[in-house]
């Protein structure tokens, strides 16, 4: 009845520089346990985002809130193609990446609520999810600003290999951006440097077709072939399917392995769609309901669920239980966030500087990391310099 997910409409379309070796394509389906994990991760993101919308509407969440519904296969498929020690950095639509990377729903939701048990003690908010133990180097709020940072993370892994420990780790950095960031100068400087310095960073453009309300064709040249943006910087590029987690994983796996092996950057045009608005106050008048429905009928969660049912990986009652389980987990994280205290007033002045001075008492880790104080490795301020 339903289309097998291997029969995708959007093929893996790749551009290589001259002399690059063939990519090792491997389309072996992952083992059942892996498929189940991916399905559950995507369900968790979907349910988490729904409840974020609800909590936002209930005024529990403030500021801006950008939900990831529709794009779940991207975060889950890309993360599956990397190793846990590979750095990951992204833009402001970042809850999905944080959860896929292993941040607990509790730490994530408490951050959304602006509470002390949030991943950043309630100081970062929706757009700034950080998780050091899981090598998640943030959501970043300024469009494109994270691209030089991603370059730097990858530079550092390479530097550690070459200067400090003789090529032991070979990590690859995933640097996500939206299609709106294609038009920011920072990305182009980052791509030039990455190409020039052989930096193992993968710039993943989550191309959902719209930067806020501006469709990609109205904002970007060569929108029909974004690979051309990278070719000018000597960077290999590919189009990867983002509405199908298996396709996304198979495509990204080849790319990430190649970046790791050759210490080279990549640029990925990852095709996907956000079902909801840019933010919570977006009435989506710039696109048609027909367009939305066409994409929603291609839902990545439903697609994987069908694939697994047809291949006997799960039964219907099992998927029902998985939904129940995920809903319970998200209910729990909302209750947890609601019960977590607001940061005490004194927190206003912590974490401004590592080293205590003047009105700044220093810094400590968030509660999910144990809360211990950060001890500066070197004390540079003379106590006599203290005000009065």
């Amino acid at each position: 009845m339903s289309t097998p997910s291997t029969d995708t409409r959007r093929l893996f379309d790749v551009h290589r520089g001259a002399g690059a070796p063939r990519l090792a394509s491997d389309r072996t389906p992952p083992p059942p346990a892996t498929l189940k994990k991916w399905l559950r991760d995507m369900m968790l993101i979907r349910e988490f985002e729904l409840r974020c919308m609800q909590a936002y509407q209930d005024k529990k969440i403030g500021g801006f809130c950008h939900v990831y519904i529709g794009q779940e296969a991207v975060a889950v498929g890309c993360v599956a193609a990397t190793k846990p020690e590979d750095p990951l950095v992204t833009a402001y639509r970042d809850h999905g990446h944080a959860l896929a990377r292993g941040m607990t729903a509790r730490a994530c939701m408490a951050e959304m609520f602006g509470r002390i048990d949030g991943c950043a003690k309630g100081k970062g908010g929706s757009m700034h999810m950080f998780d050091k133990p899981n090598n998640m180097f943030g959501g970043h709020g300024i469009v494109g600003a994270q691209t030089p940072l991603g370059l730097g993370l990858a530079f550092a892994t390479k530097y550690e290999d070459e200067v400090m420990q003789n090529g032991r780790n070979k990590r690859v950095t995933l640097c996500f951006l939206g299609d709106g960031a294609l038009n920011q100068g920072a990305l182009h400087e980052a791509m030039n440097l990455a190409g020039l310095m052989d930096i193992p960073v993968v710039f993943v453009v989550e191309n959902n077709g719209y930067s806020m309300g501006t469709s990609i064709h109205r904002g970007t040249t060569m929108a029909h072939d974004l690979k051309s943006k990278a070719i000018g910087y000597g960077i290999d590029a590919a189009v990867v399917e983002g509405m199908d987690v298996l396709e996304c994983y198979w495509g990204m796996k080849q790319v990430v392995d190649d970046a790791r092996e050759r210490s080279r950057p990549w640029f990925i045009d990852l095709r996907c769609y956000r079902y909801k608005g840019h933010s919570m106050s977006d009435p989506r008048k710039y696109r048609t309901r027909d367009e939305e429905e066409a994409w929603e009928s291609d839902d990545p969660i439903g697609k994987l669920e069908r694939y697994m049912l047809e291949n006997g990986v799960v039964t219907e009652s099992e998927t029902k239980d998985m939904w129940k389980d995920v809903k319970a987990e998200v209910r729990d994280c909302v209750a947890f966030a609601d019960a977590s205290p607001m940061p005490e007033a004194g927190e206003l002045y912590t974490d401004v500087y590592m080293e205590p001075w003047g009105p700044y008492p220093g810094s400590s880790r968030p509660t999910f990391m144990g809360g211990a104080p950060n001890t500066p490795s070197f004390t540079a301020i003379d106590p006599k310099g203290e005000v009065l």
């Binding site: 729904l50 409840r51 919308m53 609800q54 936002y56 509407q57 209930d58 005024k59 529990k60 403030g62 500021g63 801006f64 919570m280 106050s281 009435p283 008048k285 607001m342 940061p343 005490e344 007033a345 004194g346 206003l348 002045y349 205590p356 003047g358 009105p359 008492p361 144990g370 809360g371 211990a372 104080p373 106590p383 203290e386 005000v387 009065l388």
Partner: protein, 444 residues
Amino acid sequence: MPISVTMPRLSDTMEAGTIVRWNVKEGDEVTSGQVVADIETDKATMEMPVFDDGRIAKLLVPAGQSVKVGTQIAVIAEEGEDLSVAASGGGVAAPKAVPAAKPAPAPVPVASAPAAKSADEDETVTVGGQRIRVSPVARRMAEEAGIPLSSLKGSGPGGRIIKRDVQTAMENASARPAVPFAQVAAPAAQALAVPVAPATTRVSGGLVMAGLESERVAVSGMRQTIARRLVESKTTIPHYQVSMRFELDRLMAMREQLNTELAETGIKLSVNDFIVRGCALAMARHPYVNASWAGDAIAVHKQVNVGVAVALDESKGGGLVVAVIRDADRKSLRTISSEAKTLGEKARTRGLSAEDMADSTFTVSNLGMFGVEHFTAIINPPNSAILACGAALKQPVVRNDELTIGFEMTATLSSDHRVIDGAMAARWLKELKGLLENPATLLV
């Protein structure tokens, strides 16, 4: 349980919304994410999804009507629930009207200089209807030297009296008798060294014992302040002391257990942290201990700010400061502990800011770490009481009429009799005893 659907906040500035159209009617099945209504906000017309599966039991607000964000607008019955029961509100949690926002945290204290002067103190002084222009330092010097401003002629711009003018006047008046030795701590020098001391107070002279051989050690600004304030306290406040013994077996056991569990977080609770918490909680029922004598009234404080006396290292000049843990009755043991630790550390290394030492309403002094059994302390004005705590000593004790080994501590409350009578002090100590001897109460 039926699910309440409320008017959602669909933009960051939206306060009310109008239901343009319902896309469902009562009895319809709905699924999570389904758009059930169009809502007109202050910015645009938006779709309103629901977040749960079930059936519409009731639409409470008709199309065209505007209601505030948070108002209940529909009820969803979950799978297996009776529609009519759900519609009648059976079990529906009261509409989640604008969720009660938690009280905003208290304004954050920002380190600042000691109390600013009142706004109406202008730099221009009026004498006999004549405006006198005077620089701040010149005014202060003239005041200290007892020279009326009206007797001075200003040489600054617009006739402003400046430092030089006062100095000249003082030199001209220096034919006065020599100042006695004991008053050599001249006001100007003192003000330089002790920023916290109001310029008008003068250190009273001590006796110099002529017959003894002794080394004169210069007195630090802090020592002068301590001397002045404690003389003032001991001589103007009618002190009296009440002591009580506290059984600390349970507290010591709990402390050991908590410290083992918290070891990894770097938190180590001291006995004093428990005492601070206990004292703060005891104020709830005995607010008169958390008060100050105000001349013609007693100021009962609404905040409980517990001062902790910190002794400074003698190698660095010694001295004593009081670090203040603000709102100690509203802080957890853990927060009290970490604040006390941070402040203690800061006092010993960099020195406390004026803010760190201001606004205490009660003080705890603890010499337990030296093995002291019992002592009394001088009240730290404007407090009305101070608790002097000895060590929690392991000793033979009587428990249930049997001689056994346990921990006991003696603590002595010094009180200002103008504010606290003996029985009041005793009742407060009894309250504290109850708290410290049942330490679980300190955790909640």
